[in-house]
């Protein structure tokens, strides 16, 4: 397995976990649970499975790629955070008369009655992802 790809996958799982904590703090426990289970759990497993089908890059191609190509963009997260803080400080958002958020219902009601079409969608997209992995990694190249 390629170490750097694995680091990306682990980073994604950590980001999803932090996002789940943020969602919980924003009083959305249902969303936090799904974020944690699907993004940190299921998606990471799929990514690691896909990475396991990859092969090590050749030395020639590795030389062509510059190691510091990502270091060029190291400043980006800092700019985004500073811009966000400045917007929070100075941007005056008009007052809106927003409707009351819906009452939090039982997860079982949400899953099996209200949003069960999305469950079907999830199953279908996972099937599509599996076929993607098969097409890209299992079939011989043309």
């Amino acid at each position: 397995m390629t170490v750097r790809l694995l680091r990306s996958v682990v980073g994604l799982a950590l980001t999803s976990a932090i996002l789940a904590v943020i969602m919980y703090r924003l009083n959305s426990p249902l969303a936090a649970v799904f974020e944690l289970s699907v993004c940190s759990g299921l998606i990471s497993v799929i990514f690691i499975t896909t990475v396991s089908f990859t092969q090590r890059i050749s030395k020639e191609r590795l030389i062509i790629r510059r190691k510091e190509r990502l270091l060029r963009f190291l400043y980006l997260p800092f700019i985004i955070i500073i811009a966000g803080l400045l917007l929070l400080r100075y941007l005056k958002i008009p007052q809106f008369d927003l409707p009351q958020p819906a009452q939090v219902t039982d997860a079982r009601v949400v899953l099996w009655s209200l949003r069960h079409l999305d469950l079907l969608g999830q199953a279908i997209i996972i099937i599509a992802g599996v076929f993607g992995v098969v097409v890209f990694f299992k079939e011989p190249n043309k």
Partner: protein, 476 residues
């Protein structure tokens, strides 16, 4: 039992992937062909499937909140025909058993995604199934894994990702402003008008995403590479229906019946439409490859549909819907013709393939039908839908748009005749490398689509009165 349009293909997808040796590409082909063909036949006899006596127990799994209206009926009809044709083209153009099996499975996934997109009753489900269609199409586009196909896929993937970001952000704002995600709830939020700034901001974001999905100018960068470098059957699917459902249908659905917008939005949509019509028609002149020329032609024709949606009068919406259907048919026909050329000569570059009229009489004849319909020549189907769109523009006092749209049809005719002359009629001494005859399935698809184009054109007044206007709730 509207849910069966989604559940039956899903069950077939699961069955085809059971670990039985007899479930190979041939079985998958025939089962899928029957399924895809049944859908348009069912639509033609549509009253019967409104039956709603679900079996007890199992029934609750079949009750999805779906919205079947006349617009969805027309879309389901179109999806069935184009996906069926794509399957037949794949039969002739994909040689390996394993790849063919994977293609059919992914085609089923995209079929489910498109069906569910047109039946969705809330904006989030709409988004989910648009993305399902897109994911299946990404994999299909790169199925041959050559460099150019992967490049086209990557361009579409990256731009589609930006579109998804815009669309998801706008959905978040719709939830904030309307308190819910159903179409009815969002429509009521516009009527109540209390959070109109938020709603308009959400609409603007949504529009940015949709323009990328539609592939209109100036967001069209991915279209020529995606359409021309994909495998032939995938080009038919992509240009014929997939990008139309994920982009143009969503625009049509939301902007004609859900959002309540100011004139500025309508003017913007019309402006993007007219720019797409003219720019893409001019760009088509410069292409040497048939599939790239067809890609630009597709952008131009989508511009007509977007222009009509922006005009937003009932006559314009009728024109948009009819042109959507006609474009799906004649564009699929032209891409099937390109597939025939590629199958026979291994290339779609015009300098290489010339003077083929005698060698490919079926392809050249159906090509002529396709191009004349695209250019809006009577009595073919494209003439009627373009006529309705232009009439709607003049009725709405949009004379400038109407005249430009009319003159752009002349451009369309010009570049297609140029292509027809070079590929089929010029006598040349250089013989292109012949790889054998065109398979029967390709000829069958060409004749079928040409027959629909001619039939829909000749029988248009009858179809309009006896079928379209009988759909209660369509436009009134």
């Amino acid at each position: 039992m509207v849910a069966l349009f989604i559940l039956v293909p899903f069950i077939l997808l699961l069955i085809l992937n059971l670990p039985f040796k007899f479930l190979k590409a041939t079985v998958a082909f025939w089962l899928s062909a029957v399924l895809f063909l049944i859908q348009p036949l069912l639509i033609l006899t549509h009253p019967w499937f409104t039956w709603s006596n679900y079996p007890a127990g199992l029934g609750r799994f079949l009750i999805f909140k779906l919205w079947l209206d006349p617009l969805a009926l027309i879309m389901l009809f179109t999806i069935g025909i184009v996906v069926f044709v794509s399957l037949l083209v794949a039969k002739s153009t994909i040689s390996t058993e394993k790849r063919s099996f994977n293609f059919i499975n992914l085609l089923l996934v995209s079929f489910i995604g498109m069906n569910a997109t047109v039946l969705a009753a809330d904006i989030f489900s709409l988004y989910v199934f648009v993305e399902i269609t897109a994911v299946a199409v990404f994999v299909l586009m790169a199925i041959e894994k050559n460099r150019f196909a992967i490049e086209g896929t990557f361009k579409y993937l990256v731009l589609s990702m930006f579109a998804s970001i815009f669309i998801l952000t706008s959905i978040a704002f719709f939830i904030l402003a309307a308190g819910e995600i159903s179409f009815a709830g969002i429509h009521n939020a516009f009527l109540v008008n209390s959070n109109i700034i938020l709603l308009n901001f959400a609409v603007a974001l949504f529009l940015c995403g949709l323009f990328i999905k539609c592939g209109v100018v100036p967001f069209h960068g991915w279209v020529p590479d995606a359409y021309s470098e994909a495998q032939s059957a995938v080009s038919v699917l992509l240009a014929g229906i997939a990008t139309k459902i994920t982009g143009v249908y969503v625009l049509m659905r939301l902007f004609s019946s859900v959002f309540v917008l100011k004139d500025s939005f309508h003017n913007l949509i019309m402006l993007i439409g007219i720019i797409s019509i003219v720019f893409a028609a001019l760009a088509a002149f410069r292409q040497n490859n048939i599939k790239r020329m067809l890609s630009y032609s597709s952008i131009s024709q989508v511009g007509y549909i977007v222009l009509a949606i922006g005009c937003a009068t009932p006559l314009a919406i009728l024109g948009a819907v009819l042109h959507f259907f006609n474009h799906a048919i004649f564009k699929s026909l032209l891409f099937v013709n390109a597939a025939s050329l590629e199958k026979k000569f291994g290339s779609t570059d015009m300098p290489i393939i010339t003077g083929l009229g005698n060698q490919l009489p079926v392809t050249s004849g159906t090509w002529l039908v396709g191009l004349l319909s695209t250019a809006g020549i009577p009595p073919l189907s494209g003439f009627w839908s373009k006529l309705i769109i232009i009439m709607a523009l003049f009725n709405a006092q949009r004379f400038t748009y109407g005249w430009i749209a009319l003159l752009a049809s002349v451009l369309t005719l010009a570049y297609f005749l140029f292509m027809e002359r070079n590929v089929f009629f010029i006598k040349t001494e250089a013989a292109p490398g012949d790889r054998g005859g065109v398979p029967f399935t390709l000829k069958f698809c060409e004749v079928l689509l040409a027959a629909i184009t001619i039939g829909a054109g000749l029988g248009f007044p009858f179809i309009l009165n006896s079928q379209i206007f009988q759909l209660k709730g369509f436009l009134y």
